[in-house]
């Protein structure tokens, strides 16, 4: 049974309060043996306590699956990218290095990559993912489009990301301010051309590699 087509996963990093409820809820699940599949990242730990939850975005062209040499990562027909299949995963770390969102993590002890699969055991039966059920500020929200329109009148979801020349559409939506004209999030743009307003050089970004490899020119 696929995930209901009218149920969407929305992430609103603005609303995240860093309470780690999602991490706790995720690690309580038996399907991944007490390891949390959700990462709570700090936006800029030196400057602010702002955190953002990182779940798998479930791309339409999953880079983790593209680079897997063992054919272990599969995508179901409803667009959920599953975690690595245990008999196949060879713990080579390719997916960990390749994922632009930094979602897969290697479990060295088990020699297995485990990643978020949107709680497929729950969502395929019509329930909500664990993290979305416990998030107190609803930074992680799982529901219909109408619900999110009603609850967040000042935001709108987008699911298009640009990595160099590659465009990725994700199943998980990011909430952005309604007034923005952006149709997609260009990651390289954000990295390499920070706002002109701040003339201060960001020490972190200055060291970052700003030339992404060209996948293909069409």
């Amino acid at each position: 049974m696929p995930v209901p087509a009218d149920q969407y996963f929305f992430i609103d990093p603005n609303r995240c309060i860093g309470c780690e409820s999602c991490v706790q809820a995720c690690s309580e699940c038996d399907t991944h043996k007490g390891h949390s599949m959700i990462h709570l990242e700090y936006a800029n730990r030196r400057e602010s306590p702002q955190t953002l939850p990182v779940v798998c975005m479930h791309c339409d062209s999953p880079t983790c699956a593209e680079v897997c040499p063992a054919d272990a990562i599969k995508r179901t027909e409803d667009g959920v990218v599953q975690t690595a299949r245990k008999p196949r995963c060879i713990a080579c770390n390719n997916c960990v290095l390749a994922c632009p969102f930094g979602v897969p993590k290697m479990n060295v002890r088990q020699e297995l990559m485990m990643k978020c699969d949107m709680c497929y055991d729950r969502t395929s039966e019509g329930k909500r993912p664990m993290c979305a059920t416990v998030c107190p500020s609803q930074a992680l929200f799982f529901g219909t489009r109408e619900e999110i329109e009603r609850l967040r009148p000042r935001s709108r979801p987008i699911n298009e990301f640009q990595f160099g020349f590659q465009t990725i559409h994700t199943k998980v939506r990011m909430m952005v301010p309604r007034e923005t004209v952006a149709t997609h999030i260009d990651v390289a743009e954000v990295l390499c051309h920070p706002d002109e307003g701040s003339d201060q050089e960001d020490a972190m970004l200055a060291a970052a590699l700003c030339e992404l490899p060209i996948v293909a020119r069409t």
Partner: protein, 179 residues
């Protein structure tokens, strides 16, 4: 915002499938198209199962070559050592097979395996009533024939074939009976 459940997986360069390299068809990302592993698993299962069957057949063949031999004749007791109406225990054909030798009359000897055919408890002779009694579940066997007459046992006790030669009782074989 388009459909939530995108059916097909897109390729990194965004071009359709027919212009993609061949290896992408061999290693599909869609779960339904991933039959390669299933086929491999099925083959593995078939090979291992046939191997298990073959090993089982070999094992059975080995067992049956050793099982078919008739046991060696064994001395049980002297005729004079057993009184009429007395039972003597012995082991035949191996040390792990307890049996009973019963002297019914002056020259009539009977011997049965003393393992009850229900759950292998040792049976006890009750010669006055003409029966063998298994105390575990109250099973009774007829003394003359070894057939069950009461309780849970359904099969008769295996009978030990005897030969009396110059005052010595020998056990020569086991007569297995189906019912």
């Amino acid at each position: 915002m388009e459909d939530n459940n995108v059916q097909v997986t897109n390729f990194p360069d965004g071009r359709p499938q027919r212009v993609q390299p061949r290896w992408r068809q061999d290693f599909p990302i869609d779960l339904e198209a991933d039959e390669y592993g299933a086929r491999r698993d099925f083959t593995k299962f078939m090979v291992l199962t046939s191997l298990a069957f073959a090993c089982g057949q070999l094992w059975i063949a080995l067992l049956s070559t050793f099982r078919g031999r008739s046991p060696r004749e064994q001395r049980i007791a002297a005729v004079d050592d057993v009184q009429v109406g007395q039972a003597v225990g012995f082991h035949f054909p191996t040390q792990r097979d307890p049996c009973l030798l019963i002297r019914q009359s002056e020259n009539e000897f009977l011997a049965y395996s003393s393992l009850c055919t229900h759950l292998m408890c040792p049976v006890r002779p009750e010669l006055e009533q003409g029966r063998l009694h298994c105390p575990c579940h109250e099973g009774y066997f007829d003394l003359g024939t070894g057939r069950p007459i009461a309780g849970p046992p359904r099969r008769p006790l295996p009978r030990i074939q005897l030969r009396i030669d110059r005052g010595i009782v020998y056990a020569t074989g086991v007569e297995e009976r189906a019912s």
